[in-house]
Amino acid sequence: MTFLELTEGPLWYAAATIFVVGVVWQIVGIVLLGRKPDRSVPRGSALAGAVKANVLHLWPHGGFFNKTGFHLVAGYIFHIGLFVLVLFAAPHIVFIQDHITGFGWGALPRWGFVLAAEAAFCGLILLWARRIGDPVIRLLSTQDDLAGLWLTFIVMLTGCLALGESIEFLRALHMLTVDIWLIYFPFSRLMHGFTFVFSRGYMGATFGRRGVTP
């Protein structure tokens, strides 16, 4: 078995399984902790509050737009760039078709790909610089936050190196980092990619009952 066959074969399936089981385990584990029923007489709808909070917190509100512009821009360009890359880069579509869905979809033209990659790198580096440079974020950051950033950066970097697809080793290296990233995900703060819905939702539900969405 070649290095590539290993990382795209057994290692990939193991990593994907750990990712899916770990993420589901985490989410189910959190939800099963439950919440005590709230006996207070509601003024509004908890469900509407949960939905509203999820939408409202997509964008700064309450006069914080100017104060949070850096995160807004860096955060969005990184995440959008990354999702576009993951879902619309031609080699990814082929991989997803062969290994997950059985069907594919249209890929981005090369210029779109380059733009998305630049956006993702630019956003990630900005967030990284901020994490290291800002005293507040430095105080809050743990090894886990830094490891998550490093891993994501390395995955993206090896992805760029593998672009030519001509050197099998580079492609295998990229797959290896993806596999490690997937295994690390459920154990780390990268889980925010799923838990944000619950965090906003629970808060929105609590206050939705009170007739307000902060």
Binding site: S40, G63, L140, H192, F196, T206, V212
Partner: protein, 427 residues
């Protein structure tokens, strides 16, 4: 001695799905610091809201998070909490958080930090780390009936004086009336004119009401300190009195935390529903206004603005009512920037003003509120609907040498009440 085991136990019990989702979703972006007045005035990263939760987060990540067992095995879980961790955090938890909830607004993950600081306080209370100012207030509330030590006899005297001043009899402990009025200690001590104001407003509206000498205190220091037993006892007193007097409603007064305690926390603390409804004084006034039972004549033409008490607005949902009421009695009302749900705290809520240790920091933090008011280019008076906010605002105003009277909304309404032709005789 700091009881770390008890604190850890409480944290374990307090971590539910919401807390877990919040702690897991935090991306450590630090944006919450932009909302916190304590960080804004000091620039010290330790005042970053989510950092105040570290003791709770440590216990969560070490023991309760899904997969924490594997992390412990691999040595990836955070180390055990120590007594000195808690002692170091007591200032952040009690002195540097007013539970105002503005950090939730800015947080992209919608994390309800204020509610979790409250839970952290419960652990600290179990560990014996409540600041003296709050333990003293709790003792007075339990033994005397008021955190400021106001005895029933003193209250009766103040009520009699107010009744005489407005010429309306106020009957205490009257069974079968519709409404039970409770008051915050700060109102009874410093802003007792509100009692006369209510008497006039209720007389005009034909509202039947009483005050109980068994339960006249609305504030709940148990919640502020994080002692749910005391919190339950204090809420229980009001509920017992209301049910004994067979009232239909208990009116939560002009006090932010009192409203949270009675309306939102109370039924959960007692584990049962009330036999009456809780209505906030602003909701009641607005209802009476809409029904035409209170009308006003003339308007205050000073340039007035309104300070929203955090627990009534952002965490209580009463946003429209004070504005509609002000519209009836103020001809030159201006809103502060980021008012309503996004308003800036006075700096003394959540028990901070009852904690002398926090005084310097609180007065510093008032600079953020001051800037919000100054932004209006000068106003003649500040209206609010929380006696604690009012007191804290007055202290801040004095500290910064400002010339700005603070007015309670009910009193302002009473000043412009059209007393002609009473709707019904008052009880």
């Amino acid at each position: 001695m700091t009881d770390i085991a008890k604190a850890t136990d409480v944290f374990m019990n307090k971590i539910d799905a919401q807390v877990a989702a919040h702690l897991d979703a935090c991306v450590r972006c630090g944006q919450c610091s932009e909302a916190c007045h304590f960080y804004q005035v000091t620039g010290d990263p330790k005042y970053t809201p989510v950092y105040k939760l570290k003791p709770l987060e440590t216990v969560y990540q070490r023991y309760k998070a899904p997969l924490s067992g594997i992390k412990r095995m691999l040595g990836l879980a955070p180390p055990e909490l120590t007594a000195s961790d808690l002692e170091d955090w007591a200032e952040l938890v009690y002195d540097a958080c007013t539970l105002c909830g503005l950090c939730t607004v800015v947080c992209p993950m919608g994390i309800d930090i204020a509610s979790m600081v409250r839970k952290v306080r419960e652990g600290f209370s179990a560990a014996g780390l409540v600041p003296e100012g709050l333990t003293g207030a709790a003792q007075r509330a339990i033994e005397i009936g008021s955190p400021l030590g106001i005895k029933p006899q003193t209250l009766e005297k103040i009520i009699a004086e107010q009744a005489e001043e407005v010429g309306i009899p106020i009957e205490l402990n009257k069974v079968g009336v519709d409404y039970l009025v409770i008051l915050s200690a700060m109102e009874v001590l410093n802003f007792y004119e509100v009692i006369g104001a209510l008497a006039r407003l209720f007389k005009k509206a034909g509202v039947t009401w009483t005050i109980s000498t068994d339960a006249y205190e609305a504030t709940n220091v148990g919640i502020q300190m994080g002692n749910l037993e005391i919190a339950g006892t204090l809420v229980g007193r009001i509920v017992d009195a209301a049910e004994k007097l067979k009232v239909k409603y208990v009116i939560s007064p002009e006090c932010g935390h009192a409203y949270s305690a009675l309306k939102w926390e109370g039924p959960n603390l007692l584990g049962r529903d009330y036999d009456f409804e809780v209505i906030h004084i602003l909701e009641l006034m607005d209802k009476l206004r809409r029904e035409g039972r209170i009308t006003f004549k003339g308007k205050d033409d000073r340039k007035l603005t309104y300070h929203d008490p955090c627990q009534i607005v952002r965490r209580g949902g009463i946003v429209r009512e004070p504005r509609d009421l002000l519209g009836q009695v103020a001809s030159n009302f201006v809103e502060m920037k980021d008012c309503g749900v996004y308003n800036i705290c006075c700096g003394g809520g959540g028990g901070v003003s009852a904690n002398p240790r926090a005084e310097d920091l609180r007065l510093k933090a008032f600079a953020v509120k001051k800037a919000q008011v100054d932004d209006l280019g000068g106003v003649d008076a500040l209206v609010t609907s929380c006696a604690n906010c009012r007191n804290v605002l007055e202290e801040g105003i004095e500290h910064y040498g400002m010339d700005l009277p603070v007015i309670g909304l009910s009193e302002l309404l009473a000043d412009y009440l059209d007393d002609e032709g009473d709707a019904a005789s008052a009880t």
